[in-house]
């Protein structure tokens, strides 16, 4: 218990140190909450994953978790496809509005959040080490304010590699507790980002203007640090705490158009219980601790309940419910998730409900 408390103190120290730091970029509160990678399993658990970090998603959430990986996994096909709920509404409304075309037809997307996202992230993780290749594409359109349209356009391509290394102080001795540390490195190429169009751009939007807004590829490097503390209360029950500082100091891409990545400091606690062939995990994270954001948007709760072949998830991402259902055949994993994310700077202003399908194949 004493070492659990002293480990918690060390984690708190990392959190406080990071909380004093400021991102290198004066990102608007919405931009500052955009993350490089949001894993399907993590999002099903309300994005409360820093202390859990027990699979390939540890590479992006908390590299210290790589120290707990017990067998090697190569995910050669690992893809997420997601859309926003408004796309269905917008498609139906578009047909009706454009049957009777008028200036008002352009208002069909007003108040709607259109979002499309796909990624392909093959990865290899083994004890202490992980490597992933990232291919990510996002498209987004958010229009608000009928009097003076505020149009936020998102077009972003991010490709790169992510490496991670984690080690535990118990050196695999499976002692009652283990304090782990990890660090990560990423090299990324990015084109585009999220832009609020000026009136001039709105009235003159065409392909050339879009190309000018989005710009070309830039590249940048980033570093992550993480720590994780595991306390095995019994053979079935373990308590976990974790903290991670990803994209320390932010990642810039060397040009004016590729959106920089702000640093993200997170900390979390979780409880994991195994019984028979079942397991349950409850987790809580506080994310974006180092950023000036609505405090309600920092909180994440998640739960995972696993039986052979199936996983059921629920959680609260910020203040919005998440649900997930997973099917795991070993070589193939399917996971369907719904979650919502705040798209403005304040809770309950503009939540965007998303639907995600994850397909994983590996061995």
């Amino acid at each position: 218990m004493r070492s659990f408390l002293s480990s918690l103190l060390m984690i708190s120290g990392l959190v406080l140190m990071g909380a004093e730091a400021r991102a290198d970029f004066t990102a608007d509160p919405h931009q500052s909450m955009r993350e490089l990678y949001q894993g399907a399993r993590a999002m099903a658990m309300g994005n409360a994953f820093v202390s859990v970090a027990d699979d390939e998603e540890a590479l992006f959430y908390n590299p210290a978790g790589l120290a707990g990986i017990e067998s090697s996994t190569f995910q050669y096909f690992n893809t997420d496809l997601e859309i926003s709920g408004d796309i269905v509404d917008a498609t139906k409304s578009s047909y009706d509005q454009f049957k009777d075309l008028s200036g008002d037809s352009l208002n069909i997307l007003m108040g709607k959040n259109v979002y499309l996202h796909g990624n392909y992230v093959p990865s290899y993780v083994t004890k202490n080490f992980g490597l992933a290749v990232l291919f990510d594409q996002q498209l987004s359109l958010i229009s608000q304010n009928k009097s003076l349209p505020q149009v936020e356009m998102g077009y972003q391509t991010t490709n790169g590699i992510q490496l991670g290394y984690g080690f535990g102080l118990d050196r695999g001795r499976k002692s009652q507790s283990d304090l782990r540390f990890g660090f990560g490195f990423k090299y990324l190429f990015r084109r585009g980002g999220y832009y609020t169009l000026t009136q001039k751009q709105i009235v003159n939007i065409d392909q050339d203007e879009l190309k000018k807004i989005v710009g070309g590829f830039g590249s940048g490097m980033g570093f992550d640090l993480g720590t994780q503390y595991i306390y095995r209360v019994s053979s079935r029950l373990r308590l976990q705490a974790g903290a991670a500082w990803t994209e320390i100091g932010g990642v810039s891409f060397g040009n004016d158009t590729a959106e920089p990545l702000p640093g993200n400091l997170s900390a979390g606690l979780s409880v994991h219980y195994e019984f028979a062939h079942m397991a349950a995990t409850l987790a809580y994270d506080m994310r974006h601790i180092n950023q000036s954001v609505d405090s309600r948007l920092r909180n994440h709760f998640g739960a995972e309940f696993s039986i052979p072949l199936f996983h059921v998830y629920a959680g609260l991402n910020q203040i919005y419910p998440t649900f997930g259902l997973g099917f795991d055949l070993g070589l193939v994993q399917l996971l369907a998730v719904t979650y919502a994310q705040e798209m403005s700077s304040m809770a309950k202003i503009n939540p965007e409900r998303r639907y995600l399908l994850h397909i994983g194949m590996g061995f």
Partner: protein, 306 residues
């Protein structure tokens, strides 16, 4: 957790200002003009006001003026051909209004104030060229002092001012032709609404000229024609108002003003008439005289509202 009392945003911080703007945008998406204005005015009327707050406040006032941006823009593109031949008629059609029944005119005039305060950074504004001097939102009468976005939006809000005031005072028929002359045709009768009308007309012409490089091609040429035709006619009308002359048009009311050299040395409408609060309703006031001349032109000229 979500019900633990939503914090009230603090407009003096960047985060708070962003939250206010986001809330206002949400309200204006559903055309809830009152909520948007209630959110924005405390920041607008404070030292924390900036161009983003001014544009947002302009849009909240424009909401009261029934400006649905895409609808108006789309309508103007579709009717581009008839803009140059029946501009004043078109303005009445777009912005119906009745005194005491709506806030279209008020919204448009206050929106113009906010837009004229949306200036490029580092611009020196002399008192002679300023609007609402001493406030937290000092405007400039010169379009080149203002941002591109504010000049573009001024096109819409000034059009709303013209149309709504014409509807309130000109009693248009079903085809939007006037059934009564606008009452501000002598300096003594140039009320605040009359001065607001004259300033809206001039601001509209200024906005077209300033936004020429920004407008979509469908509108650029037709609005350009409107601006060129009107600018000349307006300057002549202002000059007749200031000199007390008569162009010989039936129904023209001589102003009684005595500025022998005209309103300005180059015989144009006074720049200061862009300020809707600049008229004193006297024959010794150049802005009132110019405004009276302008209104006479609208009332009786074939280029006016017929």
């Amino acid at each position: 957790m979500s019900g633990c009392g939503a914090p009230s945003p603090d407009g003096s911080t960047e985060l708070g200002k962003r939250q206010i703007i986001d809330q206002a945008n949400k309200a204006l998406t559903t055309e809830d003009c009152a909520t948007a204005l209630d959110l924005l005015l405390p920041v607008y009327n404070s030292a924390n006001s900036d161009n983003e707050i001014r544009m947002m406040t302009a849009s909240a006032y424009a909401c009261w003026a029934n400006i649905n941006y895409f609808k108006v823009m789309g309508d103007m593109v579709v009717n581009a051909g008839s803009l140059s031949s029946g501009f004043f008629n078109y303005a009445s059609k777009l912005f119906p209004s009745k005194i005491g029944a709506d806030h279209v005119a008020e919204g448009s005039l206050l929106s113009q104030d906010a837009l004229m305060a949306t200036t490029n950074s580092g611009i020196p504004i002399l008192p002679s060229g300023s609007i609402n001097a001493g406030s937290y939102n000092v405007g400039s009468i010169y379009p080149f002092d203002r941002t591109d976005d504010s000049n573009l939006y001024l096109l819409f809000t000034s059009l709303a001012g013209i149309g709504s005031l014409q509807n309130r005072y000109g009693n248009p028929d079903a085809n939007f032709h006037p059934q009564a002359k606008l009452p501000w045709s002598t300096p003594a009768n140039v009320s605040t609404d009359g001065c607001g009308y004259a300033s809206s007309v001039l601001n509209f012409v200024d906005a077209i000229n300033a936004a020429q490089n920004i407008l979509p091609s469908g509108l650029k040429s037709s609005l350009g024609t409107v601006a060129t035709t009107l600018a000349t006619a307006l300057d002549q009308a202002c000059d007749f108002g200031c000199t007390g002359g008569n162009p010989g048009l039936p129904g023209w009311q001589v102003s009684g003003c005595g500025f022998a050299s005209g309103c300005t040395t180059d015989h144009k409408c006074p720049k200061t008439l862009r300020n809707r609060n600049s008229c004193k309703a006297q024959t010794t006031d150049v802005n009132s005289c110019a405004a009276a001349g302008l209104v006479n032109m609208v009332n009786v000229s074939p280029l006016g509202w017929q």
